[in-house]
């Protein structure tokens, strides 16, 4: 199996603080990789380094074997790397449908062809399918800001899939989502993973969610990788229990 994402020896310093300290791992095609660790251990900083929101102080990121360190987030996104954020990041004034069209349009044609083409950039069909898939049908025309928190979280995740990404990095998709919606979200993510062979990396604190969704789990602590393994191996790892899971 080929690696979709290879992270080698990534470092990030903020002044005297080393937030990410030489992290290396790879994510295989079609895999759902969990990334867990205590608050402040560098998970989100690592995401930002991988996605070009932050420039790493050292190390290298490869997507499909191509070095992408230093690319801008928009360039990386058009190469098929997508993400969600820890805090809600939908466009509240746009409708649910418009949010999804926006999330997909930059993947269609060139900037010039979009100016002179259809106003929806031909994305309405794809947006409607995504709306159906995430069960947001009755809200399609509503401004995203009027949705409940859980619904916005679903929309946020749906937006990450509009460009047909190869690799999606999800930062706490389950945070603040109620139980029934959580089950829904997990089932949707698993289905997209099965059907489109999209590869996921998921940061999450909800252990049940991580352990049941992910095929492998990376545990970080204090900017370093503490352990990598299958969920059952991680659950039984004494160092992980010590640092994060608790007794």
């Amino acid at each position: 199996m080929t690696a979709v994402l290879e992270v080698s020896d990534i470092r990030k310093n903020f002044g005297g603080i080393t937030a990410v300290d030489g992290v290396s791992f790879e994510v295989r095609e079609g895999e759902i990789l969990g990334l867990i660790g205590p608050n402040g251990c560098g998970k989100s900083t690592l995401f930002n380094c991988i996605l070009g929101q932050l420039t790493p102080s050292g190390g290298e990121v490869k997507v499909d074997g191509k070095i992408v360190t230093g690319l801008r987030p928009s360039e990386l996104n058009r190469l098929g790397v997508s993400r969600t954020f820890q805090l809600l990041q939908v466009f509240p004034k746009l409708s649910v449908r418009e949010n999804l069209i926006l999330a997909g349009q930059e993947h269609r044609g060139s900037m010039m062809s979009r100016l002179f083409g259809a106003s929806d950039a031909g994305m309405t069909g794809a947006a409607e399918r995504m709306i159906g898939f995430f069960k947001l049908d009755h809200l399609a025309g509503e401004p995203a800001g009027s949705l409940s928190y859980g619904q916005q979280k679903l929309l946020d995740a749906a937006m990450a899939f509009m460009g047909g990404p190869r690799l999606v990095l999800l930062d706490e998709p389950a945070g603040g989502v109620n139980l029934s919606m959580l089950a829904d979200l997990k089932e949707r993510l698993a289905a997209i993973n099965r059907e489109s062979r999209a590869t996921f990396v998921v940061i999450e604190h909800n252990m049940e969610f991580v352990m049941s969704l992910c095929s492998r789990v990376v545990v970080m602590a204090e900017g370093k990788i503490l352990a990598i393994g299958r969920p059952d191996q991680i659950r039984g790892n004494p160092a992980v229990i010590e640092a994060y899971l608790g007794h």
Binding site: R72, S74, N77, P92, K93, L102, M111, S119, M162
Partner: protein, 332 residues
């Protein structure tokens, strides 16, 4: 319900357009001058509304671009070239300079960006005043001819007003189409949340530069009309106060609303005229009414309407949610 609203809007639009065509027939020279000025300033304000209202990039240099357009038109037409050629040059020149002015916006935002554009505004004013070899300095350029369009001379005030109105019409259609295109959506994303926009593939750098370039090009269009409207230009009308006026038009009308600049320009150009009967007090009354408006509605006049509409929609949505919730609870 929505259909009905749509018909109302279309009817209102047609009535407004007819009024703009028919009512000026009875106006005197001065009235026509003021209305033409309204049309020209609306075009410039629409440009700033794109840069500031839709794409969220502050600019205090819109007046300078009107100046660049006006000087290009004045210089070229007094040399015997047609206004259409001057229009092309103005658009290209303002587009290019606007594009360059966009670069600082990639580094600094908000009031810092305002200061950078303010510096440009001052620079442009100094260039108009001091580069006498081309602008004729403080003496200005006089005897700017009015064009002949398809064989119709526009020397008299009424035909020239119709030329301004037609230009406003063309610019409005182009703008309506631009903000409904994928670009309009990308501009909005840039304004609302640039980091999220980037993560969705929106090339925020190019859209920022485009927002400046297109907005400035529209100021160039306005300037091209301004020169033959007044038939005499000097540097004074294009100093910082014009940029501030245009900014006020956008904000008072409602930044980010399509019809904001129309209303804003109407208030900035016409209200002082209507308040003239109060003699010495009109500027004070004008300033006071703008302050009161912005305290009551910081999002401008159209912001008031939008707030009411949003409140109603949110109520509908939460009613929908409540009914969806109760049906879930009722399910076994």
């Amino acid at each position: 319900m929505r259909e009905l609203k749509k018909y109302w809007r279309i009817t209102l639009g047609i009535v407004a357009i007819l009024a703009l065509i028919v009512l000026p027939l009875g106006l005197n020279r001065y009235g026509l001058f003021i209305l033409s000025q309204w049309a020209v300033m609306t075009i410039a304000a629409m440009g700033l509304n794109l840069t500031l209202g839709y794409a969220g990039q502050v600019s205090l240099a819109q007046g300078a671009f009107v100046g660049i357009g006006a000087y290009a038109a004045a210089i070229m037409t007094t040399q015997g070239m047609p206004l259409v050629a001057a229009l092309g040059v103005s658009i290209l020149l303002c587009f290019a300079v606007g594009w360059l002015l966009g670069y600082p916006a990639l580094r600094v935002q908000h009031h810092y960006l305002a200061f950078v554009t303010l510096a440009f505004s001052t620079l442009a004013f100094l260039a108009f005043r001091n580069e006498g070899w081309i602008t004729n300095g403080i003496y200005g350029i006089s005897n700017i001819p009015r064009p002949t369009i398809f064989g119709f001379p526009t020397n008299r005030p009424l035909p020239f007003y119709y030329l301004c109105l037609a230009s406003l019409g063309i610019v409005s259609v182009a703008m309506w189409w631009l903000i409904r295109s994928p670009w309009g959506r990308a501009f909005l994303a840039l304004r609302e949340n640039p980091i999220r926009a980037q993560s969705l593939g929106v090339d925020t750098r190019r859209y920022t530069l485009m927002a400046f370039a297109i907005g400035s090009a529209l100021a160039g269009v306005a300037g091209t009309l301004y020169a033959p409207l007044t038939q005499y230009i000097d540097p004074v009308p294009f100093n910082l106060s014009l940029s501030l006026d245009l900014l006020m038009m956008v904000i008072v009308g409602g930044a980010g609303f399509f019809f904001g600049p129309f209303l804003g320009a109407m208030i900035a150009v016409l209200l002082p005229e209507w308040l003239r009967f109060t003699e010495g007090y009109y500027l004070m009354l004008y300033a006071a009414s703008v302050i009161v408006l912005l305290i009551y509605s910081p999002t401008g006049i159209l912001g008031i309407l939008d707030r009411l509409a949003t409140e109603r929609r949110t109520k509908t949505a939460s009613a929908l949610r409540a009914s969806a919730g109760s049906s879930l609870e009722a399910a076994p």
